[in-house]
Symmetry: C2
Subunit: 423 residues, 2 copies
Amino acid sequence: MRIEIICTGDEVLTGKIVNTNFGYMSQKLEDVGLSVQWETTVGDDRESLLLAFQLAGARADAVIVNGGLGPTVDDLSQEIAAQAAGVELVLHEEWLRRMEEFFHRRSRVMPPNNRKQAMLPATAELLDNPVGTACGFALDIGKARFFFTPGVPRELRRMLEEQIIPRLLARSGEQTAIFLKRFHSYGLGESHVDSLLTGVEELVPDGSVKLGFRAHYPQLETKLAARGVDMDDIRRKLEPVEREVRKRLGNFILGEDEQTLEGVVLGALAGRHGSLCLVETFTSGQIAARLAHLPSAAGIFRRGVVAPTLDEVWGTVGLPKDASAGAFTVEIAEAVAEAARRQAGATHALAVLVDLDEGADRIDLGGTICLAIATADKVASRRSRIVGGREWVRLGAVELGLDCLRRFLQDLPVYERIDFERA
Amino acid sequence: MRIEIICTGDEVLTGKIVNTNFGYMSQKLEDVGLSVQWETTVGDDRESLLLAFQLAGARADAVIVNGGLGPTVDDLSQEIAAQAAGVELVLHEEWLRRMEEFFHRRSRVMPPNNRKQAMLPATAELLDNPVGTACGFALDIGKARFFFTPGVPRELRRMLEEQIIPRLLARSGEQTAIFLKRFHSYGLGESHVDSLLTGVEELVPDGSVKLGFRAHYPQLETKLAARGVDMDDIRRKLEPVEREVRKRLGNFILGEDEQTLEGVVLGALAGRHGSLCLVETFTSGQIAARLAHLPSAAGIFRRGVVAPTLDEVWGTVGLPKDASAGAFTVEIAEAVAEAARRQAGATHALAVLVDLDEGADRIDLGGTICLAIATADKVASRRSRIVGGREWVRLGAVELGLDCLRRFLQDLPVYERIDFERA
């Protein structure tokens, strides 16, 4: 099945807003085994919209159009859809009623121009929007089924998942259930993981499990898209593959599905009634910013301190100034973590100290990271060198710190060589 | 002049990587008074590429193609460009020599497959790439001039600015100089600024100054795109408009052109040999993360502390626990800032305390912000309420804190009502 996407709107076309909807839609379709072949962006312009609809309608089997369903005069999707399909716009009484209710529940009167949002092409099938006033709709233009969606991301996302993907799967003839299993890892690059996982798809000989990746440095997402007649069938097929992925990626897997690194760390601390304090240098608050604001950090996150130099770090955690002696070692990181833990009265402390190379930012600028984790009776530490410019080192140090804390809390070795570090 | 952009590559089409190049190109063209009318994204697929080139060549005057110039087999731009133009691929000896030098300077031998990057359509005009091995090129397909550019953002950016925009301006018949003047503000919404600036374009009666905006919450960028015969002419035209914009937006302007809020704050502190410490609660390190890692923060940023509750804040800055008494007031913020400043031995302290509403995240969840700035002999404070969900409150509190510090350092009133706060 050939699928195209058309994004509309002057703000997207002029680059005034970044088009995140397209990538989201394309990924969601990939996740269920469908592929987008062509994407077009046009502005709020009658001639361009009509041409885009006609061209896609002549090429594709299914087209998703995003945007242009709002109440203002520059929202043209319904009007041009009707023109391209050769039908009239008619008032959809049911949707008008829904909109009036929508405003009523918010103690507001519906402005007259919202009525426009209930004007749909005569042949349109309504696609429900439970979270906004722009209803979606589907109709045929040329040889393709068109699905019109709102530009507001949360409205689009819900409509895509609940209304459009099931219809696309039905049209594609795949009357099967689909499930996406995800593993999140830190420390291994995409090509390394790809080679580690060679052959795992073949554990299910009928080809119904497909391996994919999504790299967002420093983390990597490994995806298993599985098809089956129902969820039981899918679970049965996935089980040996999941087991093999867990075995091969081992300690590098930091979470699965909706889990996040910060969520796993906070969960492990909560499980032992623990509390956490942080010491940062060059990461400058980014480690704290990853978890301290989360609802699940309440009662666990105790204190974070940021200081630019080792000297300032001593002062901040209450160590004598001469403890430094200019050295930059894991022993120093351990002393800082232990002092910070005592000072904050936390069960756990993470100290991430970075010695950044001198000079202007450049691709081969690196940083040496000494980090330590301390509890009342145990301390673990690790040294690492990351090269790739200031921002690369900073992101890497944040992730390395949080992931070592995760390993410590899960009784895994804090030191295991990662692909992003230099010898 | 009708301009189209074609983005190529499976990773962009499948949403595996977010296409930031398109928005960048479109904005850069808007900034010089050129507009993109149509954008197409296709994968690394011969048939799609050829059709996309033919369609755009039949519609447009100029087309920018991004991506597909790499050394691997899935990089097809040169091959399909030659096919669409009806010419052969020929070896560009000069570029081959440049590539060999490129590798030689890095003490590496050029891999054989890089030779492919010097194979250009026979009619192509070379577009220099001083920072990579993918040269750009221009040629005619249909009625349009095509410009082929590399997918690596920093290579694209340089080629667009140095090679392509001058050629587009020459083709558009606008043989004039172009300059973009930018103002950055915080606290006023786009429509508010738009109405405040009504009529400023008319201060230059020939229409050569055009007003535009780019909102990226919490900041707003106000842009004046000016044309003239040369830069002297442009400066003369812009001068009264700039003066008027500064007058009307007043204290809300936090910087101009390349200036950033954090850079202005650090610059003002450096100018008075000052130093800074920070106290944060719900912003959880994000204020520190905005400035502490910058090269210009060296010697100025002294210390940042993050604590989740007022009780933890007291302990961290060395105040007695009973100072709280459960109250959440600007007086408390002032006491915290003064204590933190003394403790860190800094000339300036900024304390940003947030009292977040109870309950699950939702669009009408708000936070009350009490912030204070202290020096040895002066203290200023401000209370504000921001509504819009956890992340919205967090971003707003970070920006409000930094902007109030900017105002304090510039001897401007720390309190001035902003559009984002509730009464």
